[in-house]
Amino acid sequence: MKQLDIYLDLGNVTGFAALPGTLKLLEATAVSVRWLPISSIIPRPLSRPPRPNTDKNDPAGDPLFEYKQKRYLAKRQFELDELNRDCQRLGLDPSLAARNVDASLTHIACMALLQRQRSALPFMQAVYESRLIKGESLTDQESVSALVKKFDVEDFLEGFERYQGLWVRHIEHYLELGIHDTPCYVLEAETFQGRQHLPLIQWRLEGEVGPPPL
């Protein structure tokens, strides 16, 4: 059976938005899956304002700054529209879905589950529900510990340094693979960043029968 690795960033809505399509694909195909955490290096779901490309951070010294600024405003408008479309589809509150919270602790908790050879998916779904529906942040050790305890990880606080070490090694590993955005799918060493690739992944998993999705 083929192996599909699925990387989700628990700090923003982008990975969550991919879940319905991804779960549908998994229902339709026979594949072994690993759910893994990732801290996306691309700000999601909304970009950050541009910075001048000068030592003193001075816009006057950057001839492209005006262009960058205009491009940023155009991109941000598109991202907001896209966020609203996703929220409508997923039944989410845009003000909660627009947040990008530090997900490091919840990612470290995923490592505790993975070390026990357990699927991280139910925990990931619980984190998304807390952040995107209940509006919680889960950015302190105690609240993350309480949540992961529900998934039978009793030693999150005691074993924190060990799990943190696993997380650091995990980051090094996925960056070596060139993975930097969420959601990311890895099938037979090929990386696919973004849920738009699900039709191609499915086509590959089903033996590349018929015309390829483009």
């Binding site: 319905p20 399509g21 290096i41 691309i42 541009p50 492209l64 262009y67 960058k68 205009k70 491009r71 155009a74 991109k75 408008q77 598109f78 529209d81 479309r85 409508q88 589809r89 960056l175 060139g178 930097h180 955005d181 090929e190 990386t191 696919f192 960043q193 973004g194 849920r195 738009q196 690739h197 699900l198 039709p199 191609l200 015309p211 390829p212 999705p213 483009l214």
Partner: protein
């Protein structure tokens, strides 16, 4: 049928691989797409780099920008390979404004010559057989595409350049910042993964807006 505007840049591999799935809309819905050039300033958001052979000889890209650029080429190439398209790596960031101005010129002369011009330019540019910064080369492509070229040389340096440059500001200010971008039914969609949504508009917006997906299948 709602009007569909599509914004492209010849130096974007993503715009290249979107071209034929976008043409498919014309065949499926009997529409004529209104094409526009959006000349990207890639260096402003992805840094710049120059290669000599396989070696990078000049670069101000951050490691994150390199990750994004390398992934984008790999990603575009896998879809190009599925269709037998050649997508060679680039040696520098090209100034595609002249080719964009020529698009505006070709557009005035009819839909078929314009599509011929798009086809020839994209295919040869990505095979690295076309210098899109060279006026003589662009003129030759226009002629080959069946576009009348009398007056182009003067126009591209004067009114054509002004029209192109003003268009760039107007597009950016109206929310078009990347390619391919589709504008239909009052919505702006960046990326060919939005083609299912463009189709949904063309079909009269039945049911819910579909999710994004690279799932266009060409009829040929």
């Amino acid at each position: 049928m709602p009007e569909l505007k599509v914004f492209i840049d010849f130096k974007s591999p993503y715009a290249y691989i979107a071209k034929d799935p976008t043409y498919q809309l014309e065949a499926d819905f009997g529409i004529k797409i209104d094409w526009y050039p959006l000349t990207l300033n890639i260096g402003s958001y992805l840094g710049t780099a120059k290669k000599s052979g396989a070696k990078v000889v000049e670069s101000n890209r951050s490691s994150n920008q390199w990750l994004s650029v390398k992934y984008a080429y790999r990603d575009a190439r896998r879809y190009a390979n599925l269709r037998g398209l050649t997508l060679k790596g680039t040696q520098k960031i090209w100034d595609s404004s002249l080719a964009g101005i020529a698009l505006l010129w070709a557009k005035r002369q009819g839909h078929d010559p314009l599509k011929q011009y798009l086809d020839i330019t994209y295919e040869r540019f990505w095979k690295r057989e076309l210098d899109i910064e060279d006026l003589a080369v662009v003129l030759a492509v226009l002629e080959e595409a069946g576009v009348e070229t009398k007056g182009f040389e003067q126009w591209q340096a004067a009114e054509g350049r002004i029209e192109h440059d003003e268009l760039q500001i107007e597009l950016l200010e109206s929310g078009v910042y990347g390619v391919p971008t589709y504008r239909i039914g009052g919505q702006t969609y960046f990326g060919r993964e939005h083609l299912p949504r463009v189709r949904w508009h063309l079909e009269g917006e039945p049911g819910l807006l579909p999710d994004i997906a690279n799932d266009s299948v060409l009829s040929q």
